[in-house]
């Protein structure tokens, strides 16, 4: 929120510098996001008195002698209003002012004034326009003239122009936390400033004298849930004209354009007191009434900015006897707009339910300063105060007659302070320190809480605008933010009980899996939990694939982030492709994250969040088996064995893909990504991807590791070269070998041969088989018998022969 220091000074005597004030505000909870001096770009510009002024023939220039307070300077000036005997801003040599474009209006940066020469005449400075000083017509009357800015005759020659033009003012942009809507105004901030500086706050003048005139008019509220308070006041004899300079200047400082006195009063009160106000042209209110009600479905209104809206039952409207005349809290209707011809107005100061205004504003896509303010919360205290202030301003500006027709519909909420009694011990218990009673009293008095202390009991009066004050905790915060957080002394929970801490089994296991993959040369990546419908298309998944049954976001940022992911594969493929585009042509990535499966859509209960592992490897030197190596790293980390069976998937190479199972249950997949997908993503090198359902393995997390005693007798090794049909898999052969002999503890493949030395359609697999003895030393006979058992089983099952 923008707060000019000069405006703040209306309500508090500020005797600290702008920097000190920023520091004070920061310490009590109001961060100044930006602070700037209005004329921070302007320097060395003084009041200059033009002593003489002669036209330079054949040019538009005048040659002037200008008194700068200590000497007379020769200055060439091109403005048409340069006049001897008048005072103008004089930029001395070395001064900084705004540079303007040829139109003399558009600012094009800051320039430093040097000694110049125009048409052969030396010029020792420059007389300035309002634009060159960054001063608009609203900020200083006459500044908008396309020529020199004329200073008052009584301005002291040689004095700095900044105080005269208000350029020495500061604007604070203050961030207000959501619990303090009462500080969303200049006066609200003034209350805090007064408290933190230990000063009195001066209430704006709320006085006015009702004329005694009354009108026959009626105000009703049909939707009190959305409008707890509605007040209106009739003002006659309105004369629409420009607001006075001081008001226009203030509005300009807070970024609000001056329009006309009545509209400016509503905006001024909004900025000053934080209460949105509206003024209706009374002549357009038909039927002698205002009614606040929900809109009918399909009802239409055209707002001041000439946009038409079709409304619903959820929108609140202000109506006259016939039609909506305003979109409550958001914007007035075009049909009752204040015009130059307006001669009577009805002021509105109301409290609307903040949630309703916020929702309507969002749903309709229509916002204003007023709706933004309502969405933060308005208190009824300000509603009452604002109406009085507006009526006072009518009188102060002399632009209308305040009638005695005041209307107030309310739900009976009091704007009087309420009492709260808390225990000082409890307040200090929250903080962990003892704040001296005198300090408590001083702080709470400064914040207008009128504290009364009786033993341990602290009773405060909560002003109506402090809707956030509910308990001893709130009191503790008020005290400590003024007392200073530097008083908090670190302690390490001396009263707390000892608790065991650390990772759970599942968390330790996740970490173990991750570390096992890192050891295998893979880097951990993290991808968004949501993805795109096109990601499912990329995988060529059929319409009835379970992955297609994804949970949708109602309000996604865009379609590409609109589904909760049901597979980690597409983002992994995309990551591998992206790396290639950026010049990394090989690598290993894994992600451990959730997939989301709904039991039904739309969601009625918590969905299944399945912790899932995805591994991607890419590069010319990578293959199916290097990926399989990483998958085996996972199995090793969990101390289990996976089984692999060839299986086709819509997105994987049909000859290089497999289902991964544990204990007979399919828990994942792996394989080479389709060439078509690689082409689609401009991926140059082969990509391989695996996905494992880690949650499905939860049951074996923490599997107990048992030491197997070393064999007492020597192990025996036999190499077996086996010939078989090409179609028989190594996995099948290995299983048969292991099953055939109880002594087999390790089967390792060391050679594969296909070629001329074998019959067509055959291949040879050579295994090294390790036999581990039990209680007896092996004899050749025993081993030979075991080998025969193995060969017999292989022959029976797959017609495998020993290679001769």
């Amino acid at each position: 929120m923008l707060v000019p220091l000069s405006w703040l000074k209306d309500y508090v005597d500020i005797d600290v510098t702008a920097d000190e004030l920023e520091e004070k505000l920061f310490s009590c909870g109001f961060e100044v996001e930006e602070k700037h001096e209005v004329g921070e770009a302007i320097s060395k510009v003084v009041v200059g008195l033009v002593k003489s002024c002669e036209p330079i023939e054949g040019t538009h220039l005048s040659l002037c002698k200008v008194d700068n307070g200590s000497e007379e300077l020769q200055i060439c000036c091109g403005a048409d209003n340069v006049t001897a005997g008048k005072k103008f801003p004089l930029a001395l040599i070395g001064a900084t002012v705004y540079a303007t474009a040829k139109d003399h209006k558009t600012i094009e940066g800051v320039m430093t004034i040097g000694q110049g020469k125009l048409r052969g005449y030396d010029s020792f400075g420059m007389l300035c326009s309002g634009t060159e000083l960054g001063v608009s017509e609203d900020m200083y009357p006459g500044a908008g003239y396309n020529g020199l800015l004329v200073l008052p005759d009584d301005a002291p020659v040689g004095a700095d122009v900044k105080p005269i033009l208000g350029l020495d003012d500061y604007i604070f942009d203050i961030s207000i936390t959501a619990n303090r809507p009462d500080c969303q105004s200049i006066f609200g901030i003034a209350r805090e400033v007064a408290a933190v500086l230990g000063k009195e706050v001066k209430t704006p003048d709320l006085s006015y004298t009702p004329s005694g005139e009354t009108i026959d008019f009626n105000v009703t509220v049909e939707a009190p849930d959305l409008c707890p308070r509605y007040s209106a006041h009739y003002v006659s004899d309105v004369r629409i004209k420009e607001s006075p300079a001081w008001m226009r200047r203030r509005l300009a400082l807070v970024g609000c354009q001056a329009i006309s006195n009545i509209v400016d009063i509503t905006n001024y009160v909004l900025k000053e007191l934080g209460q949105p106000m509206h003024a209706f042209d009374f002549s357009y209110l038909k039927g002698g009434r205002i009614n606040v009600r929900r809109a009918a479905d399909g009802e239409k209104i055209v707002t001041l900015d000439e946009k038409e809206f079709s409304l619903t039952h959820d929108n609140l409207v202000i109506c006259d006897g016939e039609k909506p005349v305003a979109l409550a809290g958001i914007m007035g209707g075009l049909n009752s707009e204040i015009l130059d011809t307006t001669s009577a107005v009805m002021f509105e100061s109301a409290k609307f339910a903040r949630d309703n205004i916020r929702k309507s504003s969002r749903a309709l896509g229509q916002a204003s300063d007023s709706s933004a303010r309502y969405a933060k919360g308005v208190d009824e205290y300000a509603t009452v105060m604002a109406m009085k202030r507006a009526l006072h301003l009518i009188e102060e500006l002399g632009c209308g007659k305040v009638s005695s027709s005041h209307f107030d519909v309310n739900t009976g909420n009091s704007v009087e302070p309420s009492k709260l009694t808390v225990s000082i011990k409890k307040v200090c218990g929250v903080l962990g320190i003892t704040v001296p009673e005198a300090d408590i009293k001083r702080i709470l008095t400064g914040l207008c809480f009128e504290p009364v202390i009786d033993g341990d009991n602290l009773t405060i009066s909560i002003p109506a605008y402090r809707e956030d004050m509910e308990s001893y905790q709130d009191v503790a915060e008020e005290i400590i933010r003024m007392y200073g957080y530097s008083h908090i002394t670190p302690t390490l929970m001396p009263t707390a009980q000892v608790t065991p801490g650390g990772l759970s089994l599942a968390q330790r296991t996740s970490l173990k899996i991750k570390n096992a993959l890192c050891a295998g040369g893979a880097y951990e990546g993290i991808h968004y939990s949501f993805f795109s419908p096109s990601d499912l298309d990329l995988l060529r998944l059929p319409a009835d694939a379970p992955e297609r049954f994804a949970i949708k976001l109602i309000n996604p940022i865009n379609i590409d982030l609109s589904l909760m992911r049901t597979t980690l594969v597409p983002q992994m493929i995309a990551a591998m492709a992206r790396n290639q585009k950026r010049g990394t042509l090989s690598g290993r990535i894994f992600e451990l994250g959730n997939r989301f499966f709904a039991k039904e859509l739309p969601l009625k209960e918590y969905p299944d969040e399945r912790e899932t592992l995805c591994i991607g490897v890419f590069g010319d030197e990578e293959d199916f088996f290097s990926l399989k190596g990483l998958v085996e790293n996972v199995a090793d980390a969990l101390d289990i064995r996976f089984a692999y069976d060839a299986k086709e998937y819509t997105f994987l190479h049909p000859g290089r893909s497999a289902a991964v199972s544990y204990d007979g249950k399919e828990i994942g997949l792996m394989g080479q990504v389709l060439y078509e997908i690689a082409d689609e993503l401009d991926a140059r090198v082969p990509m391989y991807v695996a996905q494992l359902d880690i949650k499905a393995l939860e049951g074996i997390f923490g599997k107990k590791r048992v030491f197997a005693p070393l064999p007492k007798f020597a192990i025996e090794k036999r190499d077996l070269a086996l010939v078989m049909d090409k179609a028989i898999t190594a996995g099948a052969v290995e299983s048969v070998i292991k099953e055939a002999s109880a002594y087999v503890t390790l089967v390792s493949l060391f050679d594969i041969y296909e070629g001329a030395q074998l019959p067509a359609g055959k291949k040879s697999l050579a295994y090294s088989v390790v036999f581990t003895p039990g209680d007896m030393e092996f004899t050749d006979e025993v081993i030979n018998a075991e080998v025969d058992k193995i060969l017999g089983a292989l022959k029976d099952k797959y017609a495998v022969e020993l290679r001769s």
Partner: protein, 346 residues
């Protein structure tokens, strides 16, 4: 054979050996020569013992002694020569095997954890050792747990602080790991000490915001817990994560579920608080939000606020990672760019 003959013979052998070994140039040829001359069947010295049978009995002892003597003499000569040659050979070998030590290393394949996980692990270590359990909630939450139970009812202005992704009128993507607090407090009686790391989601997508990021919520509920305890624990935390000498500064803020609420700044670990680019000249860096748990939240979970109190804090994991490692763009953390991931192995 008499002794004179024998002496002459042995002397001749000695001369012969001395002459022969002069020409030997490698330890291998010494070995071969030695093997040849000592061979019990064919060697000049090796066969001497076999002559014993031809020696008269009275000379046998003397003969044996002389043969042993020459054996020892020969062995000594060979050892001497062998040692000398071996030394030269090793020197030559070392010379020939000299390498350029500046050639590139043969590296093991390596990978590492995501910077977020590394930071998370560090934080978990710190709090785990202080008796905090790690509770991971769900990414999909209900409006109740994410907002209402955290003292943020439907019309609360604080809801505007967070743009929420909704999945249904009731379910949403959690906007804060604070949602986990309520589940914990509903299911566990004090003393409670948890940290709750996890992904959170907000409808913000620009240069400095990612729609998904990671938070770590901390919660302590026990008897007599105060703001001073919060401060003390955060001091411990920041010195462990950012280094000794790091100081904290609390300043007032607002969160619906804590009261008082504070923003916590740490003294800039880059410049030590003097003011630099990292801290934008202020000497302080904002790192987390915290506060004393609002009694309404405790009471909503059935915890007696007259007996128990607590504090909560929320840390942005990416923020810590970015600060610690100097990563300047949050989006980089979610792109799995190996040029990025491989740089940080803390």
């Amino acid at each position: 054979m008499d002794m004179n003959e024998l002496t002459a013979k042995l002397s001749a052998i000695k001369d012969e050996v001395l002459a022969d070994i002069k020409d030997l140039a490698s330890s291998k040829s010494v070995y071969e020569y030695k093997k040849g001359i000592m061979d019990p069947k064919a060697g000049k010295i090796g066969t001497l013992m076999r002559e014993m049978g031809k020696i008269p009995n009275e000379l046998k002892a003397e003969y044996g002694k002389a043969v042993n003597e020459i054996k020892n003499w020969a062995a000594e000569r060979f050892d001497e020569l062998d040692a000398k040659l071996k030394e030269a050979e090793m020197r030559a070998r070392y010379d020939s095997e000299k390498i350029d030590v500046t050639l590139p290393a043969k590296k093991q394949v390596k990978g590492n954890l995501h910077p977020n996980t590394q930071v998370r692990n560090q934080i978990v270590d710190i709090f785990g050792s202080m008796g905090f359990e790690i509770y991971e909630g769900t990414e999909i939450e209900t409006d109740h747990y994410n907002f209402t139970a955290l003292n943020t009812p439907a019309d609360h202005p604080a809801r505007d602080m967070q743009d929420t992704f909704y999945l249904s009128p009731e379910f949403l993507l959690r906007t804060q790991t604070s949602a986990g607090q309520i589940h914990v407090m509903e299911n566990k009686k004090p003393p409670i000490k948890i940290i709750s790391p996890g992904k959170v989601f907000r409808s913000d997508d620009d240069a400095t915001h990612s729609p998904m990021f990671t938070q770590m919520e901390g919660l302590v509920v026990d008897k007599g817990i105060t703001l001073c305890d919060l401060n003390g624990m955060l001091d411990e935390f920041v010195t462990k994560i950012f280094g000794a000498g790091t100081r904290t500064r609390l300043r007032p803020s607002y969160f619906p579920f804590t009261e008082p609420s504070v923003e916590v700044d740490v003294s800039c670990f880059e410049c030590g608080g003097k003011g630099c680019r990292l801290c934008k000249g202020t000497g302080w860096i904002e790192v987390l939000g915290a506060g004393v748990v609002n009694k309404k939240v405790l009471e909503g979970c059935g915890i007696d606020s007259d007996v128990y109190s607590g504090f909560a804090f929320g840390i942005g994991i990416e923020r810590i990672a970015m600060l610690k490692y100097g990563i300047n763009n949050i989006k980089m953390l979610f792109e799995s760019d190996l040029r990025v991931l491989s740089q940080i192995d803390d």
